[in-house]
Amino acid sequence: MLLLLLGIIVLHVAVLVLLFVSTIVSQWLVGNGRTTDLWQNCSTSSSGAIQHCYSSSASEWLQSVQATMILSIIFSVLALFLFFCQLFTLTKGGRFYITGFFQILAGLCVMSAAAIYTVRHSEWHVNTDYSYGFAYILAWVAFPLALLSGVIYVILRKRE
């Protein structure tokens, strides 16, 4: 049973790490020396030495993507904290409903952020050729993992 507990905690922490990296790193869109992020656009010169960064547009849709990514981090951290609280206060046979609820909410937030970004990203940059960076992919990977983690919490029952 200790192994199961450890596995669940490792999954939750992995989801948290994915959310943090995806929100902070500047690699949502990449293309010929330019990288775009939620917070700033950076461009490196051809030699690779000089890098100019300037902040992203203040479009309402970009702000809502930023907001939902931040919210997903908040909810996931809250879920971790509540999990440890419930571990010690729940009665025997009880289910971790609150933890599961917040973790599922975090997953839904990441999904909405990634979806909004996919639909609206052409409004925020002038690149013609681009490809999605690894931070964007990490956001999409975090969504099913968060959902899985939340569902596990809802199904799990507390033993002695």
Partner: protein, 247 residues
């Protein structure tokens, strides 16, 4: 420190004087506050706020002046003046019949409203306040940007989405706990009633048995039969219980 060099140690009184002059001198000047930048849409109106702090009481000789410097221009023209309780509004320049005085000296407010904005109104507005005898001080500037449609400021949508969703989640959690608390309380009340009813039943049966013992000798035969019946019932019950325990 090289040997032989003159050492200078300021006396503490001198240090205190220096410190007090640095700290206290700005308090004797007038300080004017305005916004940094103001956004307006073409054709609409915009309020240019101006407030001030003065170490003296607001006198009747107080005067406000608003100056305008066009974007890219060098000269600043005066567009509004207020002195001796009378506002003087521009009647010949580009702001003819478009300025409205909405300030009040006693509330330390020197704001004006510009109606019917145009793209040529882009520029820097300076608010100047003089409150005799307090006349030394810095003016404050506000830059006006005129847009076709006013864009939302950065962070408004961000804050609104985060605040809204967190508020909704908090409300849901509170509601959940309230409902659960009410339900548990109802359960407790029901259980108390149930246990009270059971206790009442036991009390009744004990009363009957007591009466049975104290009945007169006339009913001795009946009681005897009743007691034998009860004894036999008890015996059968006891066997049943033992069978349950074995399970």
């Amino acid at each position: 420190m090289a040997p032989g060099a003159p050492s200078f140690s300021p006396s503490p009184v001198l240090a205190a004087l220096l410190f007090s002059s640095l700290v206290l001198s700005p308090a004797q000047a007038i300080v004017v506050y305005t916004d940094r930048e103001v956004h307006g849409a073409v054709g609409s109106q915009v309020t240019l706020h101006c407030s001030f702090w003065s170490s003296e009481w607001v006198s009747d000789d107080i005067s406000f002046t608003w100056r305008y410097q066009p974007e890219g221009g060098r000269d600043a023209i005066s567009i509004f003046h207020y002195s001796k309780g009378q506002p003087y509004i521009d009647e010949v320049g580009t702001f003819k019949e478009r300025i409205q005085w909405v300030g009040d000296p006693h509330w330390k407010d020197a704001s004006i409203v510009i109606h019917n904005l145009d793209y040529s109104d882009n520029g820097t507005f300076t608010c100047d306040v003089k409150n005799p005898p307090d006349i030394v001080g810095k003016t404050s500037q506000v830059v006006l940007y005129v847009f076709e449609k006013v864009p939302t400021r950065y962070g408004v949508v961000l804050g609104a989405v985060i605040g809204g969703i967190l508020g909704v989640v908090l409300l849901l959690v509170l509601l959940f706990y309230l409902v659960r608390y009410c339900w548990l309380r109802r359960q407790a009340v029901l259980q108390r009633r149930l246990s009270a009813m059971e206790k009442g039943k036991l009390h009744k049966t004990s009363k009957d048995s007591k009466r049975g013992r104290q009945t007169p000798v006339l009913y001795a035969m009946l009681d005897h039969s009743r007691s034998t019946k009860a004894a036999s019932e008890k015996k059968s019950k006891g066997l049943g219980d033992s069978r349950k325990d074995k399970k």
